[in-house]
């Protein structure tokens, strides 16, 4: 017996149209984010610093996303899963086989459709990094069009689980969380760039943003892709600025040169706490100092779609 789960999540993509990144108009909101030193030699996708976190969240997304709901998830793990790049999930009764249908409208920043090959290549990348230890095998398949429907792309996972269903549940829950941490990228770019994938602008993924410019180790600019379904109030572009010291970043934040500073140290946090134009938040293990009126969301992960100035 298969438990079929239909979960319509936040659908982030459109299905048509040439992706063209355009410079934001003056009225559009450009979010400037300060981080500490950001050497180009660092692979943004493998690193765990604040700058890498922003880039990872901007340029890609996963099949599913983390949920902060706990509720019934211990007994019904499917309920905790929120879809991102998939729109249908079929799980076998013993939880060993998971089949995701890839969202047909999902696109990479370059306009190419996301398909099962991309998902398999991306999951294999995560497995090579030791991030999905419970996956025994993964494969993709295409279901040809019938009855006027479009072709469907499916990805099948087989998990290595204990025999007992009860013993499997914690692992299943862990697996869905790990899957949410595994970003999907273009398989062609992953293969083509090889070990260079993730450096500087060497990224192609289905995120809301694409890297548009890299200026030495000082600044990386990301532009919202036209296929993004992020709300209009979300930033049209992100500028990631690297500072040589926390105090330089704080000074720039106070002068209005940046909107928030991610990864602040304790010393500047203490200074910022006495400045009523600023506010302090925590996000995925980083301390964030932001302008007081900037709306900022980090539950359960950094959500760039939720960053906005409501009063402007």
């Amino acid at each position: 017996m298969k438990a079929t789960v239909f979960i319509l999540a936040i659908l982030c993509f459109t299905s048509t149209g040439q992706v063209v990144h355009a410079a934001p108009s003056p009225a559009e909101f450009v979010l400037s984010i300060g981080v500490r030193d950001y050497p180009l030699e660092r692979n943004a996708l493998n690193a765990s610093d604040a700058g890498a976190l922003v880039i990872q969240r901007a340029v890609s997304t996963a099949l599913v996303e983390n949920s902060n709901k706990t509720g019934s998830s211990a007994s019904e793990p499917d309920h905790a899963i929120h879809m991102r790049l998939a729109d249908k999930l079929e799980v076998s009764a013993d939880y060993k086989r998971w089949a995701f249908r890839v969202l047909s409208s999902a696109q990479h920043s370059n306009g190419q459709a996301v398909d099962g090959i991309d998902v398999v290549a991306s999951v294999e990348r995560c497995r090579a990094l030791g991030q999905l230890p419970h996956v025994e095998s993964i494969s993709h398949r295409r279901v040809d069009p019938h009855n006027g429907r479009h072709a469907e792309e499916w990805v099948d996972f087989t998990l290595n689980l204990p025999v007992s269903r009860a013993d499997s549940l914690p692992i299943v829950h862990e697996f869905s969380n790990q899957l949410a941490q595994c970003p999907i990228f273009s398989g062609t770019a992953l293969k083509g760039f090889g070990a260079d994938f993730g450096y500087a602008a060497n990224i192609v993924g289905p995120g809301d943003y694409m890297i548009d410019d890299v200026r030495g180790s000082r600044e990386i600019r990301l532009t919202k892709v036209s296929s993004s379904l992020a709300p209009a109030s979300s930033p049209a572009a992100l500028i990631l600025r690297a500072f040589p010291s926390d105090s330089a970043a704080l000074a720039t934040l106070r002068s209005g040169g940046i909107d928030l500073f991610v990864g602040a140290g304790a010393e500047v946090v203490a200074l910022a706490s006495r400045d009523e134009t600023l506010a302090i938040a925590e996000c995925q293990g980083f301390t964030v100092i932001k302008r007081h009126d900037l709306q900022f969301s980090c539950l359960p992960q950094l959500n760039l779609r939720g960053v906005a100035y409501p009063q402007r």
Binding site: Q18, V19, H21, L40, S109, N110, G111, Q112, D115, I117, D118, V120, A121, E124, H140, R142, S186, G187, T188, A189, L190, K191, G192, F193, G194, A195, D196, A200, A201, N202, V204, M210, I211, D212, D213, V214, G216
Partner: protein
């Protein structure tokens, strides 16, 4: 064969007997209209697309509707024979075709079956008048197979019960062994019956006999291809079929090929390999025709160029490196032998010579519009699929070179004219980090040439191993004379390695066998 004929004639005889010698009734108004339609629309109906050929002629359309209504009114077989007793076999067959086309647009299954039954019956009437009309026979068989065991209400089924449709197919093919329409219909029936071997053989006969392209047949034929061997069984190794089907097959196999490239799935016996083998065999066959003086050198070179220019649509997929090299070498051989002026300019010859000994390199590509600071800006938005004009306002096309590869030649291949494009406006840049760019001087002259429909810009560089490369149109002019789709337009070649790609090796082995 005698038994087959006897069986068929028995079917027809029984049908005639059952209707008796009907008294000829006066033709109804609808029959007159039908006759008129048949006379006026014969070419359209015979082409098999009665509905769309003359859509602006309201009179014909109106007559068609009236005739159709009358044709599908309830009537016995006996009455139907009487009504068409004065019509020719061809007119009756046209009426059958009219009803069949109407059947295809019926949304209700019962209605569709009713129309198909009536069409079947009309074909039987036509066959009674002209039993040797192969196309009518094959249409009858086709309909009969489609209807299967469905009983047509109120119709005489003597002919259907007494004639094995497979025998009728054989009869039709025997009567017209090189009629592609008959062969295709027979192939379709074999495919429907699950006999892939027979279907592939018949479709192969279609492609061997058919002059030109019949797009309506292509999807049915393509659906029979499951393995590389099927490619070789279906498509004749000759021109122009190879050129046409290369493109069709690549479109069908795009996803499978991507899985091979991205995930490293097995490519053993793949359709792409078979396609390369087919292309090489076709080149070889054409060369033999040239040697036997069956074709001229001009025709031979034209065929080679047709294959080469196909790659304008999808360079690497349509034409593997091995075949591209074979085409180049064969063209150069023709030029060397100077059998005939091949209408290839000296620049084209030099362009082909440059790349003939090189191996193409798979690179990731991108393009930048208005790249006015080409010595500073990074390459972004990789693998975008975009039609572009190269010769407009600081356009850049660029690529990422895999580690350990080195570039000898960059080619831009597109449509249009290169006449106005000055090599002096082209700047090449290389970078190790996609940040700091250095100007790269062309190793020798940048060549502009044409090959078939394509325009080629050939940029030789000394073996360089920069990781990132840019070709920048360093001018503010917006000439817009030279365009292409990025992924097909930009091609990169390096020195031939001893470890040629597995596809190449496989093809070489197969050809040797």
């Amino acid at each position: 064969m005698a038994k087959l004929f006897a069986l068929f004639w028995f079917g027809l005889g029984a049908l005639a007997f059952s209707q008796g010698v009907a008294s000829l009734q006066a033709a109804t108004r609808s029959d007159e209209l039908l006759a008129l339609i048949a006379e006026e629309s014969t070419p359209e109906l015979q082409n098999g697309s009665a509905a769309g050929k003359n859509p602006t002629d309201d009179r014909i359309q109106e007559q068609r509707k009236i005739a159709l209504q009358n044709l599908i009114q309830p009537s016995t077989s006996h009455e139907l024979y009487s009504r068409f007793s004065s019509s020719t076999s061809q007119q009756t067959a046209l009426a059958a075709q009219l009803v069949l086309e109407a059947a295809e647009i019926q949304t209700e299954l019962a209605e569709r079956i009713r129309y198909m039954c009536r069409s079947l019956e009309l074909y039987e009437v036509a066959l009674h008048k002209s039993p040797f009309a192969s196309s009518q026979l094959i249409n009858w068989v086709n309909l009969r197979q489609l209807l299967g065991d469905t009983q047509c209400e109120g119709q005489d089924s003597t002919m259907r019960e007494n004639t094995d449709y497979r025998d009728a197919v054989a009869l039709a093919i025997t009567a017209e062994p090189s009629n592609p329409r008959i062969l295709f219909a027979a192939g379709l029936m074999a495919a429907r019956g699950g006999d892939r071997d027979q279907a592939l053989a018949l479709f192969n006969s279609v492609l061997n006999t058919q002059v030109g392209r019949v797009t309506a047949h292509e999807s049915a034929m393509l659906s029979q291809i499951q393995t590389g061997n099927d490619v070789l069984r279906l498509i004749p190794a000759r021109f122009p079929q190879v050129a046409i089907w290369s493109q069709l097959l690549v479109e069908q196999q795009r996803r499978e090929q991507r899985a091979v490239e991205v995930l490293g799935n097995s490519d053993e016996g793949s359709i792409r390999q078979a396609l390369s083998r087919l292309q090489l065999n076709a080149i070889e066959a054409s060369r033999k025709e040239l040697e036997a003086a069956e074709i001229t050198a001009f025709v031979h070179s034209d065929r080679l160029v047709s294959l080469s220019t196909l790659a304008l649509h999808d360079s690497a997929l349509i034409l593997g490196d091995q075949v591209r090299g074979a085409v180049d070498r064969e063209l150069l051989r023709l030029l060397d032998e100077e059998r005939v002026a091949l209408n290839l300019a000296p620049e084209t010859r030099a362009t082909i010579t440059r790349r003939a000994g090189l191996e193409s390199i798979a690179v990731l590509k991108t393009t930048l519009a208005s790249d006015t600071r080409a010595n500073k800006s990074p390459l972004v938005n990789w693998e975008v699929s975009q039609n572009l004009w190269f010769d407009e306002f600081y356009r850049t096309v660029g690529f990422y070179l895999p580690p350990e590869a080195s570039v000898s030649l960059i080619e831009l291949v597109g449509y249009g004219s290169l006449r106005e494009l000055s090599p002096a406006t082209i700047e090449i840049f290389g970078s190790a980090d996609n940040q700091s760019w250095e100007v790269v001087k062309p190793a020798t002259e940048i060549l502009k040439s044409t090959l078939g429909m394509s325009a080629l810009l050939s940029i030789p560089v000394a073996k360089q191993s920069y990781r990132y490369w840019k070709v920048n149109y360093a001018s503010a002019a917006r000439q817009r004379r030279f365009q292409g789709e990025l992924q097909s337009m930009l091609r990169v070649y390096g020195p031939a390695s001893s470890g040629a790609d597995p596809t190449t090796k496989m093809v070489q082995r197969e050809v040797a066998q």
